[in-house]
């Protein structure tokens, strides 16, 4: 081997040797700026109302993925139909990547109130995942509006509110199998899996 070649190869070896002492390349998670994050936290769009969620489930809308971020015990005692249980510490696991990192589905987090779901939302927003939302008010709100909806008092009643109340009554029946203020109690199975069917319009009468 000629002298020039030996020099070249030696230089390469020396150069390579020095790289041993460099720090590892960290796989970059998309670092979102602080200001941007603050503005996003306050955006209304990141919330989904309980009505929206109830509507999606009743219509068997397959594009929603509901994630219950509470612990397993709470999840097992009651959760929203079709929800998946992923807690904060597991949310970044490989096996859940497909649930979260998707543009074709709407991912909605919920917990009892809002704080736990918000925590998880924050963590996810700091990575690449986009479009993840939180159910506003959490399960507390769910109970108040869907499972046990409060009829608006008379001087607050408007056409829109009446429609909303009717919808919530139907939703309550759908989810609990019992009609609000009705004598007949029917039982239904809980935790139905989300069946991928064609979207149906909400009809005005008994869904």
């Amino acid at each position: 081997m000629k002298r020039r070649e030996i020099i070249i190869l030696s230089l390469l070896l020396i150069g390579a040797f020095f790289t041993i002492f460099f720090p590892n390349i960290k796989s970059q998670e998309n670092i979102i700026g602080y200001k941007e994050l603050l503005s996003e936290i306050n955006k209304v769009g990141r919330y989904a109302t309980t009505d929206e969620i109830a509507n999606a489930i009743i219509n068997n809308d397959p594009s929603y993925i509901l994630i219950d971020v509470r612990d397993v015990k709470q999840f097992k005692s009651y959760t929203i139909d079709g929800a998946v249980n992923i807690t904060l510490d597991k949310i970044m696991d490989e096996e859940y990547k497909d649930y979260l990192n998707t543009e074709s589905y709407t991912v909605v987090l919920f917990s009892n109130g809002s704080s736990k779901a918000d925590q998880v939302w924050l963590k996810l927003r700091c990575t690449d995942y986009k479009g993840i939302r939180v159910m506003k008010g959490g399960l507390n709100e769910w109970f108040k509006t869907i499972i046990n909806p409060q009829k608006p008092i008379d001087n607050e009643m408007t056409a829109a509110k009446e429609k909303q109340y009717l919808f919530r009554k139907q939703a309550s029946f759908y989810f609990t199998g019992t009609q609000v203020s009705s004598g007949v109690i029917k039982t239904k199975s809980n935790n139905k899996p989300i069946v991928k069917r064609k979207k149906k319009e909400v009809s005005g009468g008994c869904g």
Partner: protein, 204 residues
């Protein structure tokens, strides 16, 4: 911080830079002898070690250089990491290996060879276009699923093996140098058996 495109360089300038870099690429390919199919095939038989020398040296230079630049903060090479689809890459690799031995070229070398007058390279390019058109036209029915399979995401080989980045580079450099020595010896051994015509053709 690099890559300068798309933030600092606009698309037109980027294309111009591509053109200029291409000139360098083509020049080096031709000047190193990659337009000569006998030289290219020679790596598989041992009589010409040029391919492995240029190839590995280029890879090492780029590896060491880019990693160093990343360490210095001049470039963010995580932005350039391709996604690994191990199944189609593996199968494609075998097909390409066969194509290499039969055709005597790879696409880049064939283009520089065709540019300098090699008629067999032109025939090769015709074949490549036939293959690509055929692939595209049958994509939906044959290839689509296969091409998407085996997606491992953007995998850094050093993470995959579980070794420190710099250590991998150093070890690879070491292996490459040993490989150079072995192929050089193989080539020297062959040279005694080659005719003068062959030696002239290969520029040894």
């Amino acid at each position: 911080m690099g890559p300068l495109y798309p933030d600092i360089i606009n698309p037109e300038l980027n294309l111009l830079i591509g053109f200029l870099i291409g000139i360098g690429f083509g020049f080096i390919l031709e000047a190193s002898g990659f337009t000569n199919t006998r030289k290219l095939a020679g790596i598989f038989y041992g009589y010409d070690a040029t391919v492995i020398k240029v190839f590995f040296t280029a890879a090492l230079t780029a590896m060491i250089g880019l990693y160093t630049l990343h360490y210095l903060g001049w470039i963010d090479i995580t932005k350039t990491m391709p996604t690994t689809f191990w199944i189609p890459t593996l199968i494609g690799g075998v097909v390409m290996g066969l194509g290499f031995v039969i055709g005597g070229f790879c696409p880049g070398t064939s283009l520089s060879a065709a540019a300098t007058g090699k008629v067999d390279a032109m025939a090769f390019i015709v074949g490549v276009m036939i293959g690509i058109f055929g692939f595209i036209l049958t994509f939906g029915s044959i290839w689509e699923g296969l091409r998407k399979s085996g997606n491992l995401g953007k995998v850094d080989i050093t993470e995959w093996i579980g070794i420190k980045e710099g250590l991998f580079i150093f070890l690879f450099t070491l292996i490459a140098v040993i490989t150079f020595v072995i192929f050089q010896k193989w080539q020297d051994h062959w040279k005694k058996k080659l005719s003068q015509d062959d030696i002239n053709d290969l520029g040894l």
